[in-house]
Symmetry: C2
Subunit: 441 residues, 2 copies
C-alpha cells in the first residue's frame, strides 16, 4: 500500500477501504508518514468527505492506535458524557457527581481545552491541589471505591487522534464532520465506557453553527457508537448564548458548586439534568426519563450530589472546602462591572466572540504550551430575551489588569446585540438523537 | 496575513487575492511556511481550482521568486519552445538547431525529466562530453555568438516552483490545471524569452488525456503569457502514441540526428516543422506559415540545421562527431527484437505504459537522485494504423541485461493493442491556440 495512492483516491472523491484507512492511521501514529502527506489527505477528506463505513473504520483505527481501556472490573455500566464544546458549558462538574451519587460509575477521561475557554480538566485544576494525572490502576480503583474519577487523557489514548488533531488545527481542516466525529468517538471508544451520552452543541458558539449540521454530527457519532457495540445517545443543545453565566475556569467551578448547593437554577442546571437523565437510562439505572429525573432531583436537593463532588475533590488531592467556601478558589486581581450603553432587549450574543474574549484574557490557550490563568473570565448578568436599561451592568469582569478590563468591556458590548423590540429566550434542547432516529423537541 | 486564513479561504472555494498569493509563494520560497501547510493549500487548490486572475498572479509570483533573466543584449527576438512532455518527444533537438540556423536566437533552459523518460537536458548529456551547466554570462554570450544554447535550469530560476513541485509530486497534487500552467509559465517568464511556442500534448501519454483538457491548459498558458506581455502561441499535438520511434536518451539523440541528416521523415519531423514555423513567425523572422516552412525546409535540406547542432555540441564541450557517427553515443549492453504474437492492425498504444517501461529500464528517474542510463530504451518498428503479421518485430529493445529484455518484451505486447479490423493513423496536430482564440485543425 502507498500513501500517495490513498491521497489520490480521496482527492478524486472515492471511498477508502478499511485497509487503506488502517494504513494511514498506523503511519500517522508511528510517524512513518510525513506531515505534508497527512495534511494533503486531511484536506482531501475535509473537502470530499467520508461515507458512513469510512468514518466508522477511521474511528476504530484511531481508537485502536493506543490502549483500549478495560473497565469490566467495575460493577455496573460505566457511563461517560461528552460535550462538543461551548462557552460557559460546565455540565460535567454538575452531572458527573449527581450520576455517581446515584451509584452509576463515572470513569471520565477529559481533554484540555484548545481554543475558547479551558476544558473540564483545566477547570478542575483551578481547585487548589486537585490532580488530574493518575495511573490506570488507581483510576479504576477510585471509580470502584467512590464511583467517580475524572482525569486527563493519557498519551496512550488514541495517539493517532492527537497526531491528526495537531495537524488539523494548523491546516484549516478542523471543520470536517467525519474528522470531528471520529476524533471524539475514537477517544470515547478507547476509554472504555459502555454507555455514552453526547451533548452536541449548536449555534453561534458551537463547532456546528446550524441545527441541521449539528443533528448530522450527532447522527454520525451515534451510528459509530452503535456499530462499535456501545449504547450511545445524543442531545442537541443550544449554544447561541453561553450555557452558564460564568465563563472562566475557577468561575465555572464556582457556578457548578452554586448549582449543586441549590443556590442557582436555570439553563446550566436544566441541561445538566437532561444529560443526567439520559446517563441514568443508558446505564440501566432508571427505566424512564421521569424516574431518572426524580432520582437526580433527590441527589441535588438532599446534597448527595455536592457530597460526591467533595469526595471526588478529596480523592484527587484537592481541597474539598472550596465547596463550602468558593472564595478559596483562585481570585482575579481586578474585578469590575461592564455597563450597557443602550436600553432594550437582548437579541443575540456572538458566543464565539465571548469565548475568544475569555481566551484572550488568559482563560484559554492559543497554543498547547500556553499556561491558563484559572482566576480570569467574566460573569454575565443577563440572558437573551432579558429587558435591560442603559447603564445596567451586563457582566462582571475578572481580569489580570486594567488593560484587560477595558478590552473586555469593549468586546462585551460588541458581542451582545440589544434592540428595542422584545426578544424570546432560547430553546435549550433541540433534539434527541438515538440509533433509531431523531426526536425533535 | 496568516497562512491558515489563506488555506481556509481556498478550502471554502473563494478566490485568493494577489497579496495572499504573493505571501504564500514567498513563504514557500524562503521556507517560512511549513510543508504541511503548503500541502494542505495545494490540495485545496487542486480540488477547488483557481480563476484566471489567481493563476496569473501565482505565475508571476513564482517567476519573481528568483532571478528574472534579461536577454535584451541579444540581437533579435529570443524565442523559446516548451513541451508539456510526452514519450519519444525529442522535437527540441531538431527544431532548436533549425530555428537558430535561420538566425533566430534560441536561449533555452530545460528541465530534467521526472517520470517517463529523461528531459532534453538528459538527452543532451548522453552526448559524450556535453555540459548543460553554464553561468548566465556565458549562456548569453554563446547565444550571441552562435544563436543557440541549451542549459539546465539554475536553482535561482523560479525557486518557488521547485519547492512546490517537489511537494506536489508526493502529495498527489500534480494534476491541477492552474498548478501545471503556472509551473511551466513561471519558468518561461523568468528565463526571459520574448516569444514562446508551447507544445501541449494530448492523449494516453500526456498530462492531459482529453483534447478538451489539453486545449484548456493551452488557453490558460497562452493567456498568462499574453497578460505578462509575451508573444505566446500553443500547438495541441497528439500523444496517443509516441511521437518519434526512438524512446530512451541516446536513442532519441540518434533519431534527431537521423532527422536532421534527412534520413528519417514522419511525425517527429512533421511536428518539429510545425513548431519551428510558429517559432519563426513569433520571432518575426517570417511573415506567414508558408514562408516559415520554406525557410526551415532549406535549413534541413542544405544541412545547415545539422551544422547548427554540431556547433551547439562543440560549444558545450560535446563531441560533434556523433552527428556523423551516431555509434559514438552510449551503446546498450544487450539488443534484441520483440516479436508480435498476433496479426492485424495496430489500434492503440498505452503510451504512458511505454513511458514507464523506458523509465523502469533505466531511461528515466523515479526519484530526483536516480542516475539515468543513457543507452537504454527501445525503438518501435510500427505506428498506429500499420498492418502487422504474427512474428513481426514490433520493437528493438536496448537494455542493461536479459532480465530487462524479457520484461520489456512482455510490456510491449501488453501496451500495444492489435485488432483484426483496419485502423487509421492518428492526426498529429489538433489545434492552434492563440490569445485571440482556438484554430481547430
Amino acid at each position: 500500500m502507498n500513501i500517495i495512492q490513498i491521497i489520490e483516491k480521496k482527492k478524486l472523491g472515492y471511498a477508502l477501504t478499511q485497509q487503506e484507512i488502517q494504513f494511514f492511521i498506523k503511519g500517522a501514529t508511528d510517524g512513518s508518514i510525513p506531515d505534508y502527506q497527512l495534511a494533503a489527505l486531511l484536506m482531501a477528506i475535509r473537502i470530499n468527505g467520508m461515507d458512513r463505513d469510512e468514518t466508522g473504520w477511521l474511528t476504530l483505527a484511531m481508537a485502536h492506535s493506543g490502549d483500549m481501556l478495560d473497565l469490566s472490573v467495575i460493577d455496573g455500566v460505566p457511563v461517560d458524557k461528552h460535550s462538543t464544546g461551548g462557552v460557559g458549558d460546565t455540565t460535567t462538574l454538575i452531572v458527573a457527581p449527581l450520576v455517581a451519587a446515584c451509584g452509576v460509575p463515572v470513569a471520565k477521561m477529559s481533554g484540555r481545552g484548545l481554543g475558547h475557554t479551558g476544558g473540564t480538566i483545566d477547570k478542575l485544576e483551578s481547585i487548589p491541589g486537585f490532580s488530574t494525572e493518575m495511573g490506570m490502576e488507581d483510576f479504576i480503583a477510585q471509580v470502584r471505591r467512590i464511583r467517580i474519577a475524572v482525569i486527563g487523557q493519557t498519551k496512550d489514548l488514541a495517539p493517532a487522534d492527537k497526531a491528526l488533531y495537531l495537524l488539523r488545527d494548523i491546516t484549516s481542516t478542523v471543520d470536517s464532520l467525519p474528522l470531528i466525529a471520529s476524533s471524539i468517538m475514537s477517544k470515547k471508544l478507547a476509554s472504555g465506557a459502555r454507555a455514552i451520552v453526547l451533548d452536541v452543541k449548536t449555534g453561534a458558539g458551537a463547532i456546528m453553527r446550524t441545527l441541521d449540521k449539528s443533528i448530522e454530527l450527532a447522527q454520525v457519532m451515534v451510528r459509530i457508537g452503535a456499530d462499535a457495540g456501545r449504547d450511545v445517545i445524543a442531545l442537541v443543545t443550544d449554544m447561541d448564548e453561553p450555557l452558564g453565566s460564568h465563563i472562566g475556569n475557577a468561575l465555572e467551578v464556582k457556578e457548578a458548586i452554586d448549582v449543586l448547593a441549590g443556590r442557582v437554577q436555570g439553563p446550566l442546571l436544566d441541561v445538566s439534568m437532561e444529560l443526567g437523565t439520559q446517563m441514568l437510562i443508558a446505564a440501566g439505572a432508571a427505566d424512564n426519563a421521569l424516574k431518572a429525573r426524580q432520582t437526580l432531583d433527590t441527589m441535588l436537593v438532599s446534597g448527595q450530589g455536592m457530597e460526591k463532588l467533595r469526595e471526588l475533590i478529596s480523592a484527587q488531592g484537592g481541597d474539598p472546602e472550596v465547596c463550602a467556601q468558593p472564595s478559596l478558589l483562585p481570585q482575579a486581581k481586578v474585578v469590575c462591572d461592564a455597563h450597557l450603553k443602550d436600553a432594550g432587549y437582548i437579541h443575540r450574543m456572538d458566543t464565539a466572540r465571548l469565548g475568544y474574549l475569555a481566551q484572550r484574557m488568559g482563560a484559554g490557550r492559543t497554543k498547547k504550551t500556553d499556561v491558563i490563568d484559572p482566576s480570569v473570565g467574566f460573569v454575565l448578568r443577563h440572558r437573551i430575551g432579558d429587558a435591560v436599561a442603559a447603564g445596567d451592568a451586563i457582566a462582571t469582569v475578572y481580569a489580570r489588569g486594567e488593560e484587560d478590563i477595558a478590552f473586555a468591556r469593549e468586546e462585551l458590548l460588541q458581542a451582545i446585540t440589544i434592540l428595542p423590540e422584545p426578544a424570546r429566550p432560547l430553546k435549550l434542547v433541540h433534539a434527541i438523537v438515538t440509533p433509531d432516529g431523531i426526536i425533535p423537541l
